[in-house]
Symmetry: D2
């Protein structure tokens, strides 16, 4: 089918490629000329602006937005809202907060525009392995986009999980779980590394892929990481977070669900980014004050 | 090759079957007559006692012990130590604490008996999918047992990870990671369940197997669980722990490694087994005392 | 000085009493006739409505709002906003979210009304021991209310901590710390209780008040609790939370501050209110699925 | 009464001074000549060796050991065991693990020596404020030492909490609680510090001492710290742990008590001592591998 695609970066570019390979017509726009050029090279049509992109599509149009969550997504959707015509659909494939999606869907509905939130997992491997798609939105709008969803996803990797917002909600929790899994592996390999046994971490990661209870796709990647970089050289112990983890924690609290592992995984990331803990300074000062314990100078 | 096998339960029985299918001679012993009978039915040789088992094997013997960690393993190994002859090898395939393995290896060495610790993962699926084997011990003893290791494991699923104790150490950490993974999935699915979206948890588990970042073998099993029992009926929120989790926590502390997620996963299990938290009683009483906050009566 | 006081419950009633004892003129309003009657009995003036309360005060008026945070506070402040005249001041002494206070102050400023946020600690003991007051707001408005602040607080127990919102922010963090302190004591006494030593918890709480590092006001109260109710009879292990704890967690995340202890204290409260953990059900089901581990039936 | 005192450092020296002031005869020994000299200056009798110390006391002797827990305590007790005579008593006032105390008491009993474990809190403030003493041991041995306990402790600050080991157990939990309290304050003040309000942390610490729910002795000290060093200059965010915290965590696990706050307080200390988290390196590497997320170079 025909799809407009806004955002042709790491994720959007690969998605365009996957869809083009499967015979879809892709009209794409990105601010980066290089990314637009890349789309043309792949056989897609690069639009010079959002206006041109909209003009190049036949109503009822479908435009997939694949730009960073937050301000960038907000701006693109607002601009598109002014260009599209009743009956058109905007798909947000980014990691938007589902509450934003609920709000945007309501605003777009006033213009008789449809909104579909398509949580997208798979990272840079999606091009070859397919993207796992968690889709929220009204039945009709989702159904019309099925050809795209089915070709982006691997077999079984697409589901209409619920009404508007449900797609981004499920993707958010997916990422929350991912935080926990990553932290569990991280801790485990740190314990292995610090052991008395001088273990070969990469060999163990590889071993566990075969028949063990902890085998997973993330462990496959970790095995690859160790194969190419056994000492993790050049990789600082500094972990960013892109929003979904803290939203998961906030939603868990909202639901009164205690989720200690997902929560502590987020906190470990925060701590990884602190050169020094002020809490620890307070405690060091207090221990000196009450017990005369030695203080390590800065 | 020829192998003695002590313990023919859920794990040992399946291992015997897998080895028999691959042409090994298995002489087995178990306290349960039914389990011994089952071995005979599979084509193995059931010994009536440990003495008989030892007598039925040709030196240098290899006896695999697959009984519950702790007292049962201790007793079997001690008995075997008195029956075996110099050059024989005992393999402990259970979830023993690696410190016990170090101790046992030293004691057996005084009798010129070899000891190999073979951490074994795979659970009840090992029969068909193979067991992941993390093996510790001296090179020579391990090498002699390779035919057995290779046939128990799937391709790539066996590794000699290090000297005595290393096998059980690696298996311990494996299980610690498993605690964290399980808790991460548990929390995630609880957050999904409590959401406003009335989500189909089983369908989401199944979906995530296809192209998502969180796909794993445990998630496959969870998908199966939901398929057969969508409401988890008849399953109490009560989780046992069998030792490796708390040992992992203890070792992490010993190494000064902060492992919050593995640790909190263990604590969540402890909490699941408490009908009521005494800490919470203390806090409820205090909140009433200082703030006049209402108390919920028991 | 002269003060209007809205809300004459556990907190407000005691504050009126403390201020009346110190010679202030208190005009109070509460929805409960009994609470209004109580104010009259104490020597205060009970107004029949907010209109009457405002009418009974001389401009520039000061009205202290001491009702539950959230909807009740919102409603009272909105109503007062329509009754007061430029130059008047509203004090919110409740546990409002400081973001609400920032919003309310801005809205009131448009009507030339002042807003002061006065975080108030001390609970039901404030009447006799004085309230600790953490006050935020513009210098002038705060200064005018100093006579009231000084008489509500014990010596040293009042501070103008910063601009609008700062009072409620500091009170919020105060309560977050309180969560952590309570949980630390709760856990400690649970560990004592479960020990092999059959310890007298009340005697230990009392003991620690004298010279130990952990002595505190909360421990004094705990000692009193044990004295009157050694077995905590009739007190369920069920702990409510009234907002400040989760706001503290949210603010910590907003600031990228890892605060594991305050966070876990909140999560322990959530867990105390769950009859059963769904996460634990998921894990129990999975352990059965992969390891054949026994399940406890519901 | 008459007391031998081994260890005249920060704790032992002050205890000697406090007891001398109250009329006891103190015969002390320390390896440091300066510390022995200091005892003489205070009016005590400095022995040149443990042999001399024992010789200078009248049977039935009482010798208080106040040296670092672990090897030092073990060595002193073992040496004393060979010097003392039946009916004599050794008091261990240090932070020994209660399991060591149980073992030592049993070994000393074979020589008809008594053992008393006296958990001692108060730090460097004990000299002036008195020490809180948590005493375990047989009734008779404890009773004989009461004059010393009563003079070391402030009014109400001494208790015979139970049989051998109970004193050190209670002290251990005391310190576990202390970990949690310290971490709660540390986190709270970090959240205050990072707020938008440019708060005066020292003034807030001081304020909270007056009427607030979180007032405590530790908060008094924190207020003093801020007064003398508002920016915590020269204090690294690096916190040691001296054993009791990790023992508390181990005991909680042994008792199946989930103690997340005390546990995480310990983990925060471990993390404070890591220049970089290896777990975080693993996660950063994995995020790059699956999502192409940027890595911060080392």
């Amino acid at each position: 089918m025909e799809l407009g695609l806004v955002g042709l970066g790491r994720m959007g570019g690969n998605m365009a490629e996957r869809l083009l390979e499967r015979g879809h017509r892709i009209v794409g726009y990105a601010r980066s000329a290089a990314n637009r050029k890349h789309l043309s090279d792949l056989g897609g049509e690069a639009a010079a602006s959002l206006e041109d992109l909209v003009a190049a599509l036949h109503p009822p149009r479908a435009v997939w937005v694949m730009v960073p969550a937050g301000a960038a997504t907000e701006e693109v959707i607002n601009t598109l809202a002014g260009l599209l015509t009743p009956g058109d659909t905007i798909v947000d494939g980014g990691n938007s907060n589902y509450r934003d999606s609920l709000r945007r869907a309501a605003a777009l509905a006033e213009r008789q525009l449809h909104f579909v939130d398509a949580g997208t997992s798979g990272g840079i491997w999606g091009l070859q392995e397919g993207y796992c798609l968690m889709v929220g939105g009204p039945q009709e709008a989702v159904a019309r986009l099925e050809p795209v969803f089915r070709d982006l996803a691997p077999e079984g990797g697409y589901l209409h999980v619920g009404p508007t917002g449900a797609g981004h909600f499920v993707k958010m929790v997916h990422n929350g779980i991912e935080y926990g899994l990553l932290q569990a592996y991280g801790e485990g390999f740190e314990i292995l590394k610090e052991s008395r046994f001088n273990l070969d971490l990469g060999a163990i990661a590889r071993l566990w892929l075969h028949g063990s209870v902890v085998r997973s796709w993330l462990l496959e990647l970790l095995s690859d990481v160790y194969e190419s970089n056994p000492d993790l050289q050049g990789i600082a112990g500094y972990v960013e977070d892109s929003g979904e983890g803290r939203w998961t924690v906030a939603e868990a609290l909202e639901e009164n669900v205690p989720a200690p592992v997902i929560t502590l995984s987020l906190l470990a990331r925060l701590a990884s980014r602190q050169p020094e803990s002020y809490s620890a300074k307070v405690i060091a000062a207090l221990r000196h004050e009450f017990g005369g314990h030695a203080i390590k100078g800065e």
